[in-house]
Amino acid sequence: MCMAIPSKILSIDGEMARVECFGVERVVSLMLLDEPAQVGDYVIIQSNSFAMEKVEPDAAREALDYLSQVLAEGEGADRA
């Protein structure tokens, strides 16, 4: 249920940013972030269109590793 999937900022144009997550790119608004963001930062996206918070690189990598593990193991029996 609504996992915190970090997306990496690829480019920034004003209040908008192009982000990437597991190969999927999209454009999101940075207007709800409380702190400045820069290319290379990891952010959590909500409502499919807003970056809501920045994530520390180590925490982002741990989350992405976890999700990669989920994907590698395929659809398991127990779901969240």
Binding site: M1, M3, R26
Partner: protein, 375 residues
């Protein structure tokens, strides 16, 4: 293969002769996400759960802690920890409901989302745990070290009032959360669609435990109780609220009632937070034997999260997590024959059936990503 970035619900509507005849709801949610918890120590699993969920993060982390605590049959959480957890869950409810109302409702009225209110709420409540559990150990089974920052706490409560003042809603809504319904209905979006209410009842824990223990994945993906899908969330909890009941009496049990219930619950949660603040008190590290949970056992936790009923179940074998299950509210509400299906099937399609679908999703579970196709 679905990637995490494509996670969500796919809704396909079949329209014939101006009526929505077919409603096909398919979950593309990346829901098999608990396997990597296996083989970890229970307290590590709770910490990871809290880290991995962005929405209902506190409900998820606290449910994990509670499920692990439940492995010890005679364990009782201290009153200060119970109060602090309740306070955190209320804060999350205010953040989730307030954020959705600030983003979604102005859009319904053709206005810009109320970003100021969202930012104020996030600043006040996004890390509310800091003013209760400065070490960040709020999700530790048995409870973390409670050390209340009274100044910070009251600053954050005050910010909730600021956010409410910034919400672009008709005046008087704090006294009567049913009042904005007429305003929303004036947009003419079909919010008065009638669909009834089949509220998820309290489930007997022994039966729920047995159902989960025997589950092969189908119950978690498409839950039912005695063969019937149920609705969970604000209206299932708030149908008896006077303002919500008044909306139901006037406009029926449609989408408007769901919006009114969300607002009523938002205001009630903020009020309860203010009431509860005086009861928050420091608590030393709990007596829960964190390094002595039973080596084998099963624990179950049921939490009313902002979006609905959340269930966690953990099996521990040899001191490590052997199985972890999460039953999320989305799976009840977006069951293929559940309340979303009922909200749309047989309805007049109007000029824009996709918009009606978006409204229904926003009323039932505004946080889920939903791709809509009309045939």
């Amino acid at each position: 293969m679905i990637t995490p970035a494509q996670d969500g619900i796919r809704l396909c509507l079949g329209v014939r002769n101006g009526v929505i005849r077919d409603v096909d709801i398919q979950s593309r949610r990346l829901v098999s996400a608990t396997a990597p918890l296996l083989g970890r120590k229970p307290d590590q699993a709770a910490r990871l759960v809290a880290q991995l969920f962005s929405l209902c993060k506190l409900a998820q982390g606290l449910s994990a802690a509670q499920a692990i605590e439940a492995i010890t049959p005679d364990f009782v959480l201290s009153v200060p920890q119970q109060t602090a957890r309740r306070f955190l869950l209320l804060g999350e409810t205010v953040l989730e409901h307030g954020g959705r109302i600030a983003l979604d409702w102005p859009s319904l009225m053709g206005q810009q989302p109320c970003l100021t209110a969202v930012k104020v709420l996030r600043r006040a409540l996004g890390d509310l745990w800091r003013v209760l559990y400065p070490a960040g150990d709020w999700m530790v089974p048995g409870g973390g070290v409670l050390h209340i920052d009274q100044y910070g706490l009251h600053q954050r409560l005050s910010a909730i009032d600021d956010a409410f003042a910034a919400l672009a809603l008709p005046s008087g809504y704090t006294q009567n959360p049913g009042s904005p319904v007429a305003w929303l209905l004036s947009a003419g979006w079909g919010l008065d669609v009638s669909l009834g209410l089949t509220a998820l009842p309290d489930l007997p824990l022994a039966e729920l435990e047995a159902r989960l223990a025997a589950d092969d994945g189908r119950f978690l993906a498409q839950p039912d109780w005695q063969g019937q899908p149920f609705e969970t969330g604000p209206l299932a909890r708030k149908a008896d609220h006077p303002a919500v009941a008044a909306v139901i009496a006037r406009h029926g049990l449609g989408l408007a009632a769901r919006f009114a219930a969300r607002l009523a619950e938002l205001l009630d949660a903020a009020r309860e937070m203010r009431d509860l603040a005086a009861a928050l008190c420091n608590d030393a590290k709990s007596v829960f034997p964190a390094d002595l949970p039973p080596a084998d056992g099963v624990g179950l936790a049921v939490t009313e999260a902002a979006r609905g009923r959340l269930v966690h179940r953990v099996e521990v074998r040899g001191g490590l997590v052997a199985r972890y299950q999460i039953l999320a509210p989305t799976e009840w509400n977006f069951h293929p024959q559940g309340v979303l299906f009922q909200a749309l099937a047989g309805q007049a399609a109007g000029n824009d059936p996709a918009l009606l679908a978006r409204l229904a999703v926003a009323a039932l579970d505004p946080c889920v990503t939903c791709a809509i196709e009309v045939k």
